[in-house]
Amino acid sequence: MTTNQTHTIAPVLPVPATAARLTALVGALATLGSTFLAWTWTAEFPGDLTVTGYPGGLQVLTLTGALLTALFALAGHGVRGLGWLVPGGKNSPVRLLALGTFTTTWYAVLAITVELGGLVNLEPGGWIAAVASLVTLVGALGLPADVPAENPGPASGWQRFTHAFKAPAPGKAAPLPSWAEILIIAAAFGIGLFIFTYGIDTEYAELFIGFLLLIGFGAPAVARAGLNRRLGALTATHKNVTVTAAFVAAFAFPFTQSNDAYATIGANILIFATVALGLNVVVGLAGLLDLGYVAFLGVGAYTAALFSGSPSSTIGIQLPFWAAVLAGAAASLIFGVVIGAPTLRLHGDYLAIVTLGFGEIFRIAMQNMDGASGPDITNGPNGIPNIPDLELFGFNFGEPHNVLGVELGRFSNYYLLMLFFTIIVVTVFRRSDQSRIGRAWVAIREDETAARAMGINAFRLKLLAFALGATLAGMAGTVQAHVTFTVTPAQYKFVEAVPPNSAFLLAAVILGGMGTVSGPLIGAALLYLIPAKLQFMSDYQLLLFGIALILLMRFRPEGLIADRRKQLEFHETGQLDAPKGDIGLSKAGV
């Protein structure tokens, strides 16, 4: 990579840098101004884009994008007081934000045109927005590249385009007083919560798509600017503060919700995310590919349902909730050991197929225990309905409660209960990861033969990972049974449109980043939120899901959040000079 002389690479559009920056800035400000105009004449398009002087719906997104573009353009120019925004790349964030604003705006304009039937429905404001965002993009593409070219010689248009989005890593940050660092972490989580809540609260699909587009470009822009690295360095020094901030933000979520319908999404995301994190112990740490993991959730849910006092339960015993949780976790644990003991002697693909089979066996067995094909335990396909709401310490989870002046509905209550279990699972994951046991799991994942030669009883530790994962899922299942009122076999398929199911759980882990805590949480949130918000696309959902996975594996195989160990490859301790890619370590032979 290091050549004797650095080669500059021409920007995508051959414009002088100053002119380009000016164009981008003017374009961004014009775009910003256009959001205060009416884009269309009728309120038929959702979000009411007809009001002059008050941006609404998709206009707010364009406004945000344009504002950020202008800010980063100024910061990249070296305006005093904004330097902290761009410790890494100076121009690539502007380009990405301009692109994000452009796609969001043009999506809005096109959506108006298509939905209302023709360009005639666009008011001048809409035209201005479209043209101004295009001008911004042209200006941004004319800005010089942030990093010198890797190879000398002329570059093709596509090479120049992809190169334009590369950015250098930020240098070391100037030390701040620790209260300021903690404040920054808190602010970052506050912003994160705000963005997440905004996404959940989007009321119509157009707004959500616009939101996804802006986030899709905005997040990499922030990363190119080097802010992610800076924040990462801060969170690494204040681990406990970070964890606390994360849970405070998560705890605050139901208090931001006026509508219990959106709290439902929150509660379901949390169940899904918790189970995904449990799966991450099995897949991410121990490297065991489990395609039937949802069965453990099912075992926990069925156990809780049977002991819940539901009138349809075939067991007439009602256990208190804590006992039901323990029973569900214990049942899952036993199920995990029973399945794991024979199957964990297999490796890789064979293990995946066998676990897939066991997952389906669980579902079909539940379906057949209806008194006709088998013993009458689970009511067959009808499942166990009418699971009563929980009541803990006089707090009924089914009724709305007024806490701190905010009305918390049923799902908000369950969200908070589930959050408690999420904290347990996160703690279990972190603590087991950073211990002798966690190291042994990772060693087995890396090279089982070498791990055994180091004295690790591979079978026993794999069984431990499998059983621990099962227990965590079973625990989550006991809450899920109460949230969903009904437990049926159809909830625990290998794959279907609604998460959680085995395929989506695995996808959440891989999409988010294997072996990390935040990865599966983010992955699960995305995988739940997108189908829930874009219900008009439900027919194509699995197709889109497949395409998204293929794209992700092509462009970011380590997942959205890279593992600590993978991050180390680019760590500041002078490892940048290490050769890229898999070097030296041969996989073959003993």
Binding site: S435, R436, E446, D447, E569, Q575, L585
Partner: protein, 310 residues
């Protein structure tokens, strides 16, 4: 039959004793009736042409393979055929092709080596009591000592995959030492090293021996072996041909024959030799004949598999 067993120098007590170890893969006998003793404080070398069964023999010793016949005992106790139990008993090894945990840091690699010498289970990890913290601290201190010993302390937070080749070899040795072995098995520790690195490895092996750890080493570098080892055993086509001091082995004409390819009388697999010669004759039609150092391997090329158990 052709084995000359030299009585081991009677200084130390036997650490490792392999008796009658035979390993067959189907109809192929990779290791045949090998006896080997390693005494405490000794460095023993194991040489032999490629495919002679050295690594297979190593795998039998460490429980990766279950020998078809024969037993291996460590300090008088017969070893079980389970890799992790062998390590627990006190035999650690390195691999011919480096097998580090590539995506773990240098320190973590060594900490994994400590696995058998620590007891903290899952509950201890979850509850994080004082015992857990103490054990972690001690493990880390011991691991750092070993990294100092092998000269890798400065790179503790690097990923194993990013180390240069020579340091990966050293790390593998440090990781093996972390299990506090009484016997260290090194499988071609200097393969691919330059002369300086080889000398450094030599010093390292001596230093390990001085800590009271017996060493059994497979190597092709004859200068390395004869400098280092108190005794050398030569394995050819799965059988121990000769064992003794460096001079004895160097002077043994059968060893020379095995390496240099002169067919010898009573050779096991004489017809193979004929076959190989026919093949070589065929090959010389196209290429110049094999030179004196590599040609020898031809005579044993059809012997047992070396290496990959999977």
């Amino acid at each position: 039959m052709t084995t000359d067993t030299v009585t081991p120098a009677g200084t130390g007590t036997p650490v490792l004793h392999a008796s009658g170890v035979t390993m067959r893969f189907g109809g192929l006998t990779a290791v045949r009736n090998v006896e080997l003793t390693v005494n405490s404080g000794e460095i023993v070398g194991l040489i032999g042409p490629n495919g002679a069964g050295k690594t297979t023999f190593f795998n039998c010793l460490t429980g990766l393979y279950i020998p078809t016949e024969g037993t291996v005992s460590y300090k008088g106790k017969v070893l079980p055929h389970r890799s992790h139990l062998v390590t627990q008993a006190g035999i650690a090894r390195t691999f011919q092709n480096i097998r580090l945990f590539a995506n773990m840091t240098v320190l973590e690699n060594v900490l994994v080596g400590r696995h058998t010498r620590t007891k903290e289970g899952l509950w201890s990890a979850l509850l994080r009591g004082p015992g857990f913290k103490k054990a972690e601290r001690e493990s880390e201190a011991r691991a750092m000592e070993l990294l100092e010993f092998t000269g890798l302390a400065a790179k503790r937070d690097h990923l194993a995959r990013n180390l240069p080749y020579g340091e990966q070899r050293k790390l593998e040795i440090a990781r093996a030492l972390a299990s506090e072995p009484g016997l260290l098995l090194l499988d071609e520790p200097t393969a691919g090293m330059n002369p300086q690195e080889t000398r450094a490895t030599e010093e390292l092996v001596f230093a390990i021996r001085d800590q009271g750890i017996a060493v059994l080493v497979i190597e092709h570098d004859m200068r390395f072996i004869f400098n280092l080892c108190d005794r050398v055993a030569c394995l050819v086509q799965g059988e121990k041909l000769v064992e003794g001091t460096a001079e004895v082995v160097q002077g043994d004409e059968r060893v020379v024959a095995a390496y240099l390819g002169t067919p010898f009388e009573d050779a096991p697999g004489a017809e193979e030799v004929a076959e190989v010669e026919a093949a070589e004759a065929h090959a010389t039609d196209r290429a110049p004949g094999p030179d004196s150092t590599t040609g020898a391997t031809g005579t044993t090329s059809t012997t047992g598999p070396e290496g990959d158990p999977k």
